[in-house]
Each structure stands twice: as C-alpha cells, then as structure tokens.
Subunit: 444 residues, 2 copies
C-alpha cells in the first residue's frame, strides 16, 4: 500500500498543474512552528525519521494512479505522477534538539511538484511527534529524579499515535512504556502493573497479589487502591514479607490525593521494615501534577503518565507551517495578514550562553556557534543511517542544559526568541517590497 | 502483522495468570465515559466498527508469541495464548448515537482472559472516534446551513487519526475531506482548493487562477488572501468573467478577520455581477469560530475546519473507562475514591421528551422507550454487516432532535444526566456493601 495519497487533495491538484506546465524548477519549502503555545517555553524537534522513511519510499502505486484517473487527472498528469520519486534534499534539525518559534525544523529543496506533494505528510509527522516529545520533555523536567513510564495507549488519538508517544517519551527520558507493540518495535522496556479488575477477580487483595507473583516474573508492583489505599498497602506489606520478595517491589496508588496517600504508604512500608519498597503513582498526571508532587515532597519513586501526556492535553497542536521560501533563484515571502514569513533557505546557529541566530543558509555563522540544520537527505536518499532514540535523548539532554531556566519553567514559561541576522533581515525587506509590487501589479 | 500486542503490558500479564489458573469464567466489562468535559453537553458514540473488526480478527501471531516467550511468559501460557480467539459477545450503542456520562458505549461479555486482553485497543478506538465525532458534531451544530470540509490531516495525531477525523466528521454531516486516502478508503468526497505557494509560483494571482482552471476540472475555489484579500477577490472576479466560469465557483479567505473580509468579498462579487460565486473561509476555525461567524451574519457559504477539530483542541480526550461489572454471576463494583462504579451489565432506555434511564440489562424498559445497546457481536462474530457512515449520520441527526437545547449549546452547554433505575440502584447498594465487607476482611 502506497502512502502518496495520504495527502490533501490540493497537493495533487497543484502538483498536477505544475507537471503539465513543466514547472519543475527547484523550490525550497521551510517547515517551522510559527508561534509557540502560551504554555511552552521550547519545543523538541521529533518526527524526522518518519519523514525520511516516507521520502525515500515516495511513489504512486497503481491503485493511487487509478484513483487519480477517476478523479479528474488527465492521462498526461497521471503518467507523470507514475514516474515521480522524491529526488530532492532535506536539511533538518536532528531529533531531540530544542527548537524555537520561527526556526526551521526541516527544509525541503526539490523540483516544485515533489516538494509540494509531500507537504501534508511532513507536516503531520513533524507536528505530532514534536507536540508529544515536547510534552514528555516537560514531564521529565517537572518530575525531578523519579522514573516515568508511558501509560497513554488507551487514550492516544489512534494506535500510531500510541507508538509515537512511546518513542517521543523515550527521547524525553522516560524509562519504559506500557505499550507492548511500541516496546517491541522500538526496543523499549515494556512495563506494567495490574488493573483493579485483576484485584476484583480474586477473593481478596492478598490472593490477587499472591497470584500475580506466582504467575509472572518480577519486578512486581502491587495496585493498592482498589478498596482502601492504606489498607491495601498493609496487605501488600504482608504479602511481601510472606513471600520474601526483595528486589524491584513497589506499590501503586492510582486514585485519591496522591501526595498524601504516598506519604501514608511510605509510613506503612517503613513501619513494616520495607524501606526498599518503592511507591508508584498514576492517575491524571502530567507535568503540572508531577511538579506539584515534587514540590510537596511526596515520597514518590516512579509515576505512570497517561492521557494528558498522550494527547498533550494543554497544547495538542502546534502552529506548524510549510512555507515556500525560494523558487529557482528567487526568494519568496508571504504577505497574508498576521502570517508574514522570512524568505530563503535558512540556518540556525546555536552557541552556549547566547540567543539562537536565524540566518540565511549560505551566510557564515558566528564564531563558536553550531549549525542546527544538517543535510540529512540528498538525491532522495538519507545521508546517514536513522538516528537512534538514545542519540536523540542525548541531544535533548544537552540542549536542556543550554536553554534558559525561564524556558524550562513548567508554569508560565518564557520562550526565548531567535535573533535574525542582518543579511536575512535585509533579504526579507527586499523580498516583501517586491512581493508588494507584484500584488499591486495584480490590482491594476 | 497481528494486533494483539497493541495493548498494555498488564493486560498480557493478567490474562496469562488467568489462563494458568483456569480463571476463564465469563466476565462483563462496561466501557463508558465517566464524566463529560466541561464544554461538552453530549458525546457521539463512534469507533465501534474498528473494535468489531479487531475482535473478529483477534489472535496472537507467531511473532507475538515469540515476544511473549522472550519476556517472562511461561510455555503453558504462551501455548494458551496461541489458541485464543475472541469468542464472546458485545452489546454496543450504534455509531452516531448520542451518549451521556455513565451510559455504556459498549459492553464485552467473554471468558475473563479474552475480555481483559482487548481492553486497551477498545478504549483507544472508542475514545479517539468519540472525541472526534463529538467535536465535529458541535461544529456542524454551530455552523448553521453552510458546508463544512475536513481540512485537518496536517495536524492530526498521526495519519490514522487523520482517517478517523475524516470518517467521524462525515458522520457529523461534513460534506467532504481534503484527505485523499480517507476519501478513497471511506468513499467520501475529496475536496480542496490551492495553497498560497501555488499563487506565489506564478507571476500574478490572475495567472495562478487561470493555470488552475486550465489544469483541473472544477469546482474551482480561488485562494484570494496571498497578497491583499479584497484585491484578490477583484482579481478572481475578473478571471471568472474572462473564462466564463459559472458553476461551483468560490473564493477562499484563509487569514485576517474572516467575517469582515467575507462581507467585503461578498460586496465585490455582487458588484461584479457574481452573486452565485460562493465564499469559503478557513483558518483556525472550530465550533466557537463558526458560531461567531454565524452570529455575525457573515456571508459565508462554506468553511474548511482543520487543526482544532482534528485534535479536538478544547477537549482532546474523554474520561473513558473499561470496568469489570460482573464475574460469573457476581455483580462487581469499584470503590476507589472518586471512581465508584455501578455493577452488572446494563441497558440504556431512551424516549422522546424524557431523560435516559440507565438500567440493568435484564430489566424491562419503560413503555415507549428504545434500548440504545444492541447485541452487535455473538460468539465472536458480527451479528450484522458493518454500519455505514450514512446510517450513522442519520442516527446522529435523529438524536440531535432528541437532546435538550441546552446540551446542544456551543458555549457553556449543560449535559443531561441519565436517571438510574430502582433495580440498578438497589443492586449497586448491595454490591458496594459486599465489596466493603470483602475489603474489611482483607484488613484483618
């Protein structure tokens, strides 16, 4: 099954017209986040590997061509579409790096029809992964030292979104996922405990805990809030002693006031001589709840975060755009009200202790600064093997050390702005002036 | 590729233990929305067909079994898993019907391991589709008589979420989608206009409009806001006259103050003798923006709705749960703080002019009332062919006529509550009392 029809209809219509008219000159499109949501001080670039997979394989399969023929595309266009592959190049920010408003996450340079056809898919994948990686990174920042596990599968927007959350939260530093398929495909640790229905399926909590231990290898996390939480912790403590369990044991609290119940549970466990038994919490947590737990000094060792992270509930989308910035040798800018854009291919230069500099791609960078965008695809082929989750996680950790403290804040973060180089500003002014002249020309 | 590992790890762990211990008695789980989000007066049941497809095909394929063997599942359990199919029954509310908090969308009755294994997938599919169908239905209510088109693909949480939005918005009464793959797979109308980059790729707006007409069959929608919107409308009017275009012509405004620009565009078009040319708007619209446009009396004929609808931005998840309500002949209720549940299989009775009645499944319904839940799967097989989008749309239209006006409100809606039958209330009291007794037993 091809992926070329996973696109908006207008991409096909426009590409068809370009093909018919021989408008196959080189175009550059820039994909970036126009403005950050109010509660984001940064975003974490992610989704690039999906995009590169897609571009390397891009083609219309026979069923796609049949659909086009049946929907108004003329035989010459359909024939041209049949031969299309993605032959262009991509410059992109590697996964895991922090990006700011206006900084390109990815730039496509390719014959105009190819560059146009891939817009919808690239926007979709960069947006969802960047949304999710950013949300997970904020959870990781908020949670301090505790372990975080992705529990979101049941409420993500579909099962491929579930896979995306597992990957993006791993980039953010989560230590496992409940999503088994994701763990298998991505080589992550599958983690999980037991459900309330499991406890209810046995005559008593103690019986349920015993059954779990006899049926599965550890580590064991006993769910203690099915009936009464503190009682549940006592029952768990008894079973832990009875069975002589030592390593990797935890109790899980999934309802009520997590901070005070965690404190009560800690007291019971310590009182029972079980200081090594960990406390795992879950239930409606995201970075705000995690920060509250940390600030309350709740004795929590690990948390499962699900729904609100899996849909990035407080910022479920980003204002991503894919803008034409150059056509042949001509830089392009958009004038639409409130949606103005800077022309030309770009580079972002990052330096310790300094604001990012958004510049023309061809300008030299400031001394000591590092370029964020790299050539990741040339002549339609990756320039290097796919990035690993581990590498992306290391990049994020390094960039989190770079970004100012106020951008890392969980509540009311302040997003830094990239500076714009003099050359790029000048190019912007020239391009806007000539675009306005063209617009005025139209009105004659 | 199997789907059985698209699940949370604990489902596998619990099912494995049930299988080992021969705990294969019949269980009933009830899937419902615990509480509606504050800005929802109702939700639209959707996602059932995905669930039934999944249940009919449920099995562990050899790679799944290999993964289980490698992750702590004993050979007896792996062998038992190999033989598992979904052999149970499902009662469910047909797609498109309105449901309220606490009303089961779906109930699974099956041997305990089977019923447990399918939890994560069923929750995922019902949640995402119900979230999206509800958001789209609110847009349809808000928009009055104008056409709505799904433009969300580029910002949905993945491409299967894009497919879900296309389907769910069609159930809600949208008239097309920009998502070509969705249109193909679901038999919907693929719709689209042109991008700003298309306009920018020609020497002038007029040239771009002419090129579009010469390259594609109609209907034509000219994007007029690339440079200056009112000027763009004038250019479009000239081209429409020049080419003698008559049927299905529109101009599209994608930025700025849509209401005032639509009024200005209408004036230009009417002044140019083009009262039949329609006005299409887009850009950040959802039910709130659509209601504002309608209340402002903006002369809008159609709208493309994207991002905010595609992620249901103001309510991106629902508080869906999958609760064990009966085990063998024993009704089950959960006591966890703030998460109490009603026991036993249920039915919802709906009657014109009356509140819904949530009752035990076996109780007779009130006279003149219609049962919402139907047996849709028996012995693991559908009882009827898949529901069509057209049928689901008709059900939603009928239920929208049933639901009180205050639930249909876009802002500050008031969600009706289902009444609970005397029998169900009594069963709830008895079940909670015996569960508490069991919990106290544990604490001794």
């Amino acid at each position: 099954m091809g992926q070329a029809l996973i696109t908006d209809f207008y991409e096909l219509a426009m590409a068809g017209i370009y093909l018919r008219r021989g408008m196959t000159g080189t175009a550059t499109f820039s994909l970036y986040v126009r403005e950050l949501p109010p509660n984001r001080g940064f975003v974490v670039a992610a989704g690039l590997e999906d995009c590169l997979d897609y571009l390397e394989r891009f083609r219309f399969v026979p069923e796609d061509l049949a659909w086009l023929s049946a929907h108004g595309f003329t035989p010459d266009v359909v024939e041209a579409m049949a031969g299309i592959r993605f032959t262009g190049e991509v410059h992109a920010v590697p996964e895991g790096r922090i990006v700011l408003a206006g900084e390109p996450v990815l730039e496509v340079t390719a014959p105009l029809p190819e560059a146009q056809l891939v817009e919808s898919f690239l926007l979709n994948r960069i947006t969802v992964h960047t949304v999710l990686a950013t949300k997970a990174a904020r959870c990781r920042l908020a949670a301090g030292e505790i372990d975080l596990i992705d529990f979101s599968l049941r409420r993500t927007h579909g099962t491929d979104a579930g896979l995306a959350v597992a990957r993006d939260s791993a980039i953010a530093g989560f230590s496992g996922t409940s999503n088994v398929e994701a763990a298998r495909v991505l080589g992550l640790r599958a983690a999980g405990t037991m459900a309330h229905s499991f406890i209810q399926s046995f005559p008593s909590e103690a019986d349920a805990f015993r059954a779990f231990v006899s049926g599965m290898p550890g580590p064991y996390t006993f769910l203690v809030d099915t009936y009464d939480t503190v009682t549940g912790v006592r029952v768990a403590a008894e079973v832990i002693h009875e069975l002589g369990l030592e390593e990797g044991i935890a109790v899980r609290i999934d309802s009520g006031d997590l901070a005070s119940l965690a404190t009560a549970a800690r007291d019971v466990l310590d009182g029972a001589g079980l200081p090594h038994v960990r406390i795992f919490v879950s239930g409606g947590l995201d970075e705000y709840g995690l920060e509250d737990l940390r600030k309350a000094g709740a004795p929590v060792d690990a948390a499962g975060v699900g729904t609100k992270v899996g849909v990035s509930a407080d910022a479920p989308y980003l204002d991503t755009v894919y803008k034409l910035v150059q056509l042949g040798s001509e830089p392009i800018a958009k004038l639409s009200e409130g949606k103005e854009s800077l022309p030309g291919p770009k580079q972002v230069w990052r330096r310790e202790g300094a604001a990012d500099l958004l510049a023309r791609r061809e300008e030299p960078g400031p001394s000591g600064a590092e370029p964020l965008l790299q050539a990741v695809l040339r002549d339609g082929r990756r320039t290097a093997p796919p990035t690993s989750i581990v590498a992306a996680r290391a990049r994020l950790a390094a960039d989190l050390a770079w970004i100012p403290m106020e951008a890392r804040r969980i509540r009311q973060p302040h997003a830094p702005a990239a500076l714009v180089s003099d050359e790029l500003q000048a190019l912007g002014r020239r391009t806007v002036a000539s675009a306005r002249a063209r617009a005025n020309g139209d009105s004659r």
